[in-house]
Subunit: 202 residues, 2 copies
């Protein structure tokens, strides 16, 4: 037998997924051709089809990684943290941490994942799972604030969590469309809305 070391197999797979990710971010899942991916990966068709059985397979793997990135960004906030709720955007989008701080590219890919989820029921299922899990994490964060009297307790924590998560999604849309999306200004706006003492940005 002449099986190559599996580290090399995994490296090849990664090489393909990275190339595909670039192409998909640049042109979307369906406007990207296999030839585009092959060229970007500097590999032949025969090579790529040894690691993925179809283009849809590559799309699914790319989308799954994007969702995993989101999930881990939320999971990292699970512990009993230093939570100012108006910091949640920074917390989740990771000003210092790696996860979603890949900035514009991750946001752009996530928008594409949303739109692909509208036509792929399996992707839609995964997306809903991630959202449900995140709602739980953020919901318990909200509940702790309610117990401490920092938030009105007469509203279900999950409803507040939905609003906070919608804020994150809306922020990601802005980050995807414009390149920057100033999280400090965003946090400022949140503070004002929450009637908390605000610090002026400029």
């Amino acid at each position: 037998m002449a099986r190559m070391p599996k580290e090399h197999l995994e490296a090849r797979r990664r090489q393909i997924l990275d190339a595909a990710r670039h192409c998909f971010i640049r042109n979307g899942f369906h406007a990207t051709s296999m030839q585009d991916v092959l060229t970007e990966a500097e590999l032949s068709a025969g090579a790529v089809y040894r690691y993925f059985k179809s283009k849809d397979d590559i799309i699914a793997a790319t989308a799954a990684e994007a969702l995993a990135e989101v999930a881990s960004a939320f999971e990292a906030d699970d512990g009993a943290r230093p939570p100012d709720l108006d910091n949640i955007v920074d917390l989740v989008l990771g000003v210092e941490r790696p996860p979603l701080s890949g900035s514009q590219e991750s946001a752009q890919l996530l928008v594409q994942v949303w739109s692909e989820a509208l036509r792929s029921s399996s992707l839609s299922t995964k997306l809903k799972e991630v959202m449900a899990e995140a709602r739980g994490v953020v919901g318990s964060l909200v509940a702790r604030h309610q117990q401490r009297g920092l938030l009105p307790a007469d509203v279900p924590a999950e409803q507040v969590a939905d609003v906070l998560m919608a804020l994150v999604d809306g922020f990601l849309v802005r980050r995807a469309v414009y390149g920057h999306a100033d999280s400090a200004a965003f946090r400022n706006g949140m503070r004002a809305l929450m009637s908390a003492p605000a610090q002026v940005t400029r």
Copy 2:
């Protein structure tokens, strides 16, 4: 000469755009084939290509109408209105008014428009224009609240407007992915966050 009444020409154009809209919502811009559109519109290729010079032309027209829908939803809130800020989602998404209340379909199409804007610079430009205009409208709404002391005045109104608009976008994502997205529960969550008197949903 034998030119048909222009009302019929416009009806044909509408028929094509409606069919294309359905297809695009169902399958996305680039996974929808011309044949799909022709079948849905119950027209031949020759007929459709008399009204649109290319598929990209149909995509552009569909996206432009979606953005116009968003723009008009925000413009309708321009007057000195009955504005509770936490009602903005209902206001903009139109619980009673027509604009974006087309519910899931409009939200799904808008997500596709976002993702298409990532690869079409002309669409990206139009999207930014609509966002900028909406920011102005919502910003002046915020400014009025600040003048009345309902919001901290030491934060630029536009920063608060950005947060509110991000909320709307996030809500639309939920409405696109799930079908429903309960706006009453969402408003409830906003009230809690804003420390305003909350009404319990259940």
